[in-house]
């Protein structure tokens, strides 16, 4: 593999390792076992949302509703638990609700021929958030059963349960995207929807599936978050759609579609988690953290642009 290809593949990972090295020298606490486990735990919700967002962005789409779907699922799962539904069933119900909300995005996009996924998901972002507030009257639903809280706060040995959830989702999504024909269709749609359609890809069905998957991962994020906070609160996940987009883009996916990996996205989510954690350890205020994250997003994409330009130059050569 060429140097450029290696850089493309492992660029975000190198960035993450460099970041960890820097933070390790700046803070004695950063590279401790407990702290790193903590970073993983804190990154779990964003990582889950980012997986769904990744699949959407591979199709050259965007899902602005994941934060709100997380919020609505969070409230609904808490209500189900309060009504006495067993935790396992409540979790499955939450995932189904998330999937259903996501597929509404896909249906609006494909059947109403809305011009860009920005529109239906922006609509859903408001609708789902509004419904979450309506349903619980704006108040959090607290004191959830311990069997449920396991998913957010529990652990197996020293591994936090949310980390296990993330790993399982990552493996499933990686296999789905790289080893299945449906995964290949999804990359093709992002690369060239017209050519994909004319090669027999059922584009509409695939897009509906893609947005449904994004809804499912948002609901999975809701389960982890509600478990960790011991509460279903209607404002859960405010603004997290943008964090998930940032993680996907930092992880090397392209807004133009057709490009992106699960590994890269996971690294992207970790870069954001590590940054927040490291800045916290150094007592940098939350306000400044936001500034730093903004700079990192732009810098990550800029690096990508520079790399692409270099590749373009190489191509002009051949012709």
């Amino acid at each position: 593999m060429s140097v450029a290809a290696l850089l493309r593949r492992f660029g975000p990972l190198l960035g993450l390792l460099a970041l960890c090295a820097v933070l390790g020298t700046l803070s004695d606490h950063f590279l401790t076992f407990d702290n790193l486990i903590n970073v993983f735990r804190q990154s779990a919700v964003n990582a889950l949302l980012s997986l769904g967002q990744l699949v959407v962005i591979i199709t050259a789409g965007i899902d602005l509703s994941v934060g709100s779907i997380l919020g609505l699922s969070c409230v609904l799962v808490a209500l189900l638990l309060k009504a006495g539904v067993p935790p396992a069933l409540a979790v499955l119900a939450a995932l189904a609700i998330g999937g259903a909300l996501g597929s509404v995005n896909g249906l609006l996009l494909t059947k109403l021929h809305l011009p860009h996924p920005f529109i239906p998901t922006l609509g859903m972002m408001n609708v789902a958030r509004g419904l979450a507030l309506v349903i619980c009257g704006g108040f959090p639903i607290s004191e959830l059963p311990s069997g449920f809280r396991f998913w957010g706060a529990g652990s197996v040995g020293w591994i936090p349960a949310p980390v296990i959830v993330v790993v399982v989702f990552c493996v499933v999504f990686h296999v789905f995207l790289t080893r299945t024909t449906v995964g290949r269709d999804i990359y093709a749609i992002g690369g060239n929807p017209q050519a994909a359609l004319l090669s027999g890809v059922p584009v509409d069905a695939r897009l509906i599936l893609v947005y449904a998957l994004s809804g499912v991962t948002a609901a999975a994020g809701a389960v982890v978050l509600a478990g960790r906070m011991n509460s279903g609160f209607p404002l859960a996940g405010m603004g997290s759609e943008l964090d998930s987009i940032a993680a996907v883009i930092i992880g090397g996916a392209s807004f133009f579609g057709g490009v992106g990996t699960v590994g890269g996205t996971l690294v992207g989510a970790l870069i954001m988690g590590v940054l927040r954690n490291g800045l916290n350890l150094m007592n940098v205020s939350a306000y400044w953290q936001t500034v730093v994250i903004g700079v990192v997003i732009v810098a990550a994409v800029w690096v990508d642009v520079v790399r692409k330009r270099a590749a373009e130059k190489g191509r002009a050569a051949v012709n």
Binding site: R179, T180, T181, V182, R184, D185, Y187, A188, G191, N192, Q194, A195, A196, L197, L198, S199, G200, V201, P202, G258, V259, G314, R315, A316, A317, V318, N319
Partner: protein, 487 residues
């Protein structure tokens, strides 16, 4: 101005890209009031040479003289200021602006911060009518035909006081009649003393419009000749370095296979297994629409029968399941996922009934197709973006061969590709037919139809105007039907 004055002179131009020499000591010149054709297979170095002239890339060695003075344009802008304009294959116009606005884009005549609309429109009208066309300069470019858009682009070059206009395959997307109009425009430019570099894969056109022709092969100039003293065979030989089998017309054979596909409706016809049926017509005659409809990508306007049984084709996937394959007219926009690899593109239309990809099996089959179709690529993992036009088109065909298609809908399959690939695609099409495939071939190139088709269906305004057997088909008879004449 001295009519034979040397406008542009290149001496010993060389260029390397990442260690590969793409141009080697090329000499080239254009006089004022000369149409100089530049031909060569894809990869011969034409684009690179023109990119050097128009300031997009810099030469590594050699000299460029503009009216006898050494120059080195470092950007398209600088080249434009010298008087050199490149009219690209993909036109660079803003579709939601008017023709006039596009012509003066970036340099609106203005006074005191106000745009002088009246002057813009008057001067645009003047420029367009000076080129012999009456396009309303207020019309949006989005509403103009391709031929009209080219004209706007040429008018824009003139508004920039261009003295040398480079046209990269300007006729590739045009129907024959529009191409005629373009040639008139080019002659008009020549009369005004403008030099034109005309790049084309259609050799016939060079004899219609050019004064001199230069052939590049593998980055070297192999020939420069007055067109009057050159023949098609000279050029082809210079381009490929050998004679090609494509110029031997295949034997005509009576086709007696079973019916593969039949259509009944506003347009009715049938194609047998082993038969190549050509579809001729002017631009807009409805050939692309017909093929896309058959393939489930357009409005259904009739009944399709495959192997004698009526079938419903609502989407391309249905058509593919009935053994159909579409090679679309625009391979970059509709045929390929450019950013994906050869492997991914070849496998894209197959294996959809299965959940998991069988990568090893696919790679073996795709690798074999690479060899059979003589696709020149670094390997299966090369992205198709980086392939030449001919190799890209072969990749589209490979996709359908891998999918096991039996009815091929080919829409302009050799548009904008080099002579060698063209010949190879011709061989491939005849080979497919001889192995029992049914082939529907829509083409704007009449000699392509005459060479490949067993019979030719001529379309006019969405209907079939007539049908000609190979023996009775001539360019004159086809054009007669295509222009609305009666059989």
């Amino acid at each position: 101005m001295n009519e034979s004055a040397q406008l542009l002179e290149l001496r010993g131009i060389s260029k390397w890209f990442s260690g590969v020499r793409v141009l080697e000591g090329v000499d080239f010149e254009v006089r004022a009031a000369e149409v100089h054709a530049l031909v060569g297979e894809n990869g011969a170095g034409k684009s690179t040479l023109m990119n050097i002239v128009s300031g997009i890339v810099a030469a590594d060695a050699g000299q460029m003289l503009w009216e006898g003075q050494p120059v080195r344009p470092r950007s398209p802008r600088q080249a434009q200021e010298l008087g050199i304009t490149f009219v690209h294959q993909e036109l660079a116009l803003a579709p939601q602006l008017s023709a006039a606005e596009n012509i003066f884009l970036g340099r609106h005549p203005a006074g005191g911060g106000w745009v002088r609309w009246r002057e813009i429109h008057d001067r645009a009208r003047e420029l367009l009518s000076g080129l012999g066309h009456n396009i309303d300069p207020r019309r949006l470019v989005a509403e103009l035909s391709l031929a009209e858009r080219q004209l706007v682009e040429i008018a824009r070059a003139l508004a920039f006081r261009a003295r040398l206009i480079i046209m990269d395959e300007p006729t590739a997307p045009l129907a024959d009649r529009d191409a005629e109009g373009l040639f008139r425009t080019i002659r008009n430019l020549r009369e005004r003393g403008v030099g034109v570099i005309f790049i084309s894969h259609r050799l016939k056109e060079i004899f219609q419009v050019a004064d001199r022709v230069t052939v590049l092969r593998d980055g070297k100039r192999v020939l420069t000749k007055e067109v009057a003293s050159a023949g098609v065979d000279d050029l082809v030989r210079a381009m490929v370095g050998a004679e090609l089998s494509a110029h031997v017309p295949p034997e005509a054979a009576a086709v007696e296979g079973e019916e593969a596909i039949r259509v009944e409706g506003p347009v009715s016809f049938a194609v047998r297994r082993g038969e190549v049926v050509g579809f001729a017509g002017l631009a807009g005659a409805g050939r692309t629409e017909l093929l896309e409809w058959l393939f489930g990508a357009g409005k259904q306007t009739g009944q399709i029968f495959v192997n004698g049984r009526p079938v419903t084709v609502r989407r391309p996937l249905d058509a593919i399941r009935h053994g159909m394959a579409l090679v679309p007219d625009d391979r970059k926009a509709k045929g390929l996922v450019l950013g994906a690899t050869l492997h991914q593109n070849i496998a894209l239309a197959s294996g959809r009934r299965r959940w998991f990809i069988r990568a090893a099996r696919e790679r073996q089959a795709a690798g074999q197709l690479l060899g059979e179709l003589r696709i020149k690529a670094a390997g299966l993992d090369q992205r198709v973006l980086y392939l030449s036009g001919g190799n890209q088109q072969k990749a589209v065909l490979a996709k359908w061969l891998y999918a096991g298609a039996r009815v091929f809908l080919l829409d302009e399959p050799t548009r904008g590709i080099d002579v060698r690939s063209k010949a190879e695609i011709y061989d491939l099409v005849r080979g497919l037919a001889s192995r029992g495939a049914a082939i529907l071939l829509a083409s704007s190139e009449l000699d392509e139809l005459l060479r490949l088709a067993d019979r030719i269906v001529v379309m006019h305004r969405g209907r079939i105007a007539g049908e000609l057997a190979r023996a009775e088909a001539t360019e004159e008879r086809i054009m007669h039907l295509a222009t609305g004449g009666v059989q």
